[in-house]
Amino acid sequence: MNKKEIFVNAAFKENSIWRQILGICSALAVTNLMLNSLIMGLGVIFVLALANFTISIIRNWTPRSVRMMVQTLIIASYVIIVDVFLKANMPEISKQLGPYVGLIITNCILMGRAEAFASQNGPLDSMIDGIGAGLGYTIVLLAISFIRELFGFGTIFGLQVLGSWWTNWSIMVMAPSAFFLLAIFIWIINTHYYKAKA
């Protein structure tokens, strides 16, 4: 596979959220505001790209028995960087994201990509795969949070787009809407997928 194929494959064809249903904890939790989703997505892209890169570099020297632990520690180190950066530069957003930044470590996407791709491929390819997978994740987050923020607050990225006539749907701010929207999202994509296959 060439570099472009790797990227497209990771971002769309094998998209972690809608094809593999991985990493949806944070996809549900941070999508009440678009800005939160964007920051979270960028954080995941950063961690995925660099963790994949590092795991790929040391893949030939990692004993199989401690592989999982080594991968987790590498991922955790990059997550700490993201967390410290957010705390220092965007304290407000860091507070809103709360534990979900730290929870990138246990996000199944990270382990999934490390196992499925980085432990078998070269560093550069792995990095591209990481960026692609992270981008696919970010797109889903932004799509869900677009609907939730628009209907829940009448805003997009904090800018008022729906006028004063708009009544906010408080359900969009609450937890159940996240489940419903993600389900509908998966439904649409899967129907399309089965149609394309048939």
């Binding site: 987790t72 700490i80 246990t106 199944c108 419903f180 389900a183």
Partner: protein
Amino acid sequence: MDINAFVLFWAAIFTSNILLTNFLGMCSYLSVSRELESALGLGTAVIIVLTVTSALNWVVYHYLLVPFGIVYLQFIVFIIVIAAFVQFLELLIERYAPALYYTLGIFLPLITVNCAIFGVSLFMVIRDYNFIQSVAFGAGSGIGWLLAIMMLAGIRRKLKEKLVPIGLRGAGISLIITGIMALGFVGFSGIVQIQ
């Protein structure tokens, strides 16, 4: 945080259910909810691990990380504590209760990557709970998680013979069921507020 530990325990089960309002532990929740028996096994394991690791992590955080000024290492340390405890529990069960090992032990490796465990430890630090509160919150969250996965497993068993649109099969319909369950749990939310 000044809140009664007993109240916190009930709040963790109903008003701020770890899965239905905080979305934690979704991966294993969706994948292990096909059978009631395995849901019960995993749920029980989650209760045990959550209760013990929230206690362990509280001690580690307040007596190791804070005095040495290395709070920024909390993610790594918490993960190691959780992984080590799960490994230890697995060995213990295998050695002393082989029968239990086949119903419970097989789920233990899954738990290390269950974000509910790690998430509860992080919530405990962010909300500044004391020791008793942390244990109550951990146990309550575990029971809340068991409740959620058992409900889903029960509904999915009934759903087996029903016709579901092809695109919704599997994860899609489970998420919709979970959404309806979460909607039901919103009804509890006025009772006590801990967030």
